[in-house]
Symmetry: C2
Subunit: 151 residues, 2 copies
């Protein structure tokens, strides 16, 4: 059963807040990446590789919601910088698996740490109760968005 419709006014407010927050996060992300030899899309890709292990071009493209050809170029540049390497699958020679190299691993770990420090600082302004609520909220938001996006 669906709940009552949220007022339009409320939606506008929430949309605005989300936009401002995402602007803040973007701004902070820029500041951090400025000290590292990777770009924002590269960061996203590397983080997925760290989290999921080796991924094919297709899998990575889906994770980061980009066209195959965009991902190919992205990987080209990261390979040139020795952040990752391509490994041809022995069973299926069509498939290329992207593997995180040490240099990439060090960088991505450091950047993630900086981001976590930032988050830590933000959350220092929260009580433990608020933090619990935030966690639950993000969980709900995520699973609900997943539902809606998959429709």
């Amino acid at each position: 059963m669906e709940n009552e419709i949220t007022s339009a006014e409320s939606i506008v407010k929430i949309e605005k807040r989300l936009r401002y927050i995402s602007g803040m996060i973007k701004q902070n992300g820029r500041k951090i990446l400025h000290n590292y030899p990777i770009t924002s899309p590269q960061f996203v890709a590397l983080q997925w590789l760290l989290e999921e292990g080796d991924l094919t071009i297709g899998e990575l493209s889906n994770k980061i919601s980009l066209a195959f050809s965009t991902t190919t170029d992205l990987v080209d540049r990261m390979e040139k910088n020795e952040l990752v390497e391509r490994i041809r699958d022995d069973k299926d020679r069509r498939v290329v698996r992207i593997h995180l190299l040490d240099k990439g691993k060090v960088i991505i770990h450091e950047v993630i740490e900086k981001r976590q420090e930032y988050l830590q600082e933000v959350l220092d302004g929260f009580s433990p109760e608020e933090e619990t609520i935030l966690n639950e909220m993000l969980d709900s938001l995520y699973s609900r968005m997943k539902q809606v996006n998959e429709k």
Copy 2:
């Protein structure tokens, strides 16, 4: 006085949630913009112009956290597509004010509406109480981030 330090584990979890959610929003945004003749950065710029009224290149650059020259190019393309126009300030001939044109206004309104419909759908899964909590949470997050970013 600061609250107790959030556990590292919790931070990791929250970071991950935020990342997933922003991925979802990005994915949905792409889907919507696909039907309109504007790009994602252009959308952001137009939305600020709608919200704030005419802005100078400098003001707009700050709003969207981009270099002046990037904004100049962005405005060039939007001007070519008749979404906005440049108006020289009469008092101070150095200043250029970016003004939203009708075509741009129609597009930005429609895109915002689509985004709000999406948010509406997401929030339909929430009870009024949850929604109130969400609102408060976003408020806290925003003001706290602003504090931290300005340090």
